[in-house]
Symmetry: C2
Subunit: 109 residues, 2 copies
DNA sequence: TTGACATATTCCGATATGGGCATATATTTG
DNA sequence: CAAATATATGCCCATATCGGAATATGTCAA
């Protein structure tokens, strides 16, 4: 088997740093492919391929405007990632609380 | 270049569904490798390899107890993922709000 | 239609992957 | 030390990747 396909789910799609860069950029506003190319300093085919992956997993949506394709983030598709990480949120809160507690105990000394 | 190395960062490590399964399992409590093997229904070498990846990126920590190795989640290492996804949280809140608004407009009709 | 611009797709090569299997290492027990 | 248990590592293979380069597709303008 080898590694799971990137196009499978959002977790895989987002594992690629370039794709996170693109999502970060699109978070600000809808952008054309060439705007992304300029901003990311990547080759246009690379950008188009990454956009295809992101689109396939639903992380972005696109619409045509004349010759351009305008891409935007579909934030809802990111939500499951947030929810998964969020299940660990309580854990790190506890861990931080414990660190703080220990620090206070020491300073009481 | 090919794909970025899995061991590079938490995003890549977590892209593998099996590793998320393991983290979910460890979220409940510290576990030995064989407990993980039993719970996940995976071969022991596979589990050990996944654990190595998780450990290399700091997502889990381990301690030896006799012949066993006990693994636990290092929640703090998941926090960057949460923070990244969280930057999109406002977006999906807006999107949902808009959907709700439209629904209400329709029902006013 | 032809040409220019914007984007997508295809083919290639190098490489990292994950599973299966065998085996090595570490620890306890006799 | 030897045997048993628990875990880690090494090797092989099939495969999914990413980037680069060339090319195909789509859209507008003259």
């Amino acid at each position: 088997m080898a590694r799971a396909a990137t196009t499978t789910d959002a977790f895989n799609a987002v594992a690629e740093p370039r794709r996170r860069d693109i999502l970060n950029f699109l978070a600000l506003q809808e952008r054309s492919v060439s705007e992304i190319v300029d901003a990311m300093e990547m080759e246009q085919p690379s950008v188009s391929k990454h956009l295809k992956v992101l689109k396939d997993v639903g992380l972005v949506a696109a619409r045509r405007e004349g010759r351009q394709m305008l891409y935007r983030v579909n934030a809802a598709a990111i939500r499951p990632l947030w929810e998964w990480t969020n299940t660990f949120e309580r854990m790190w809160r506890h861990q931080l609380a414990r660190v703080k507690e220990n620090a206070e105990k020491k300073s009481d000394w």
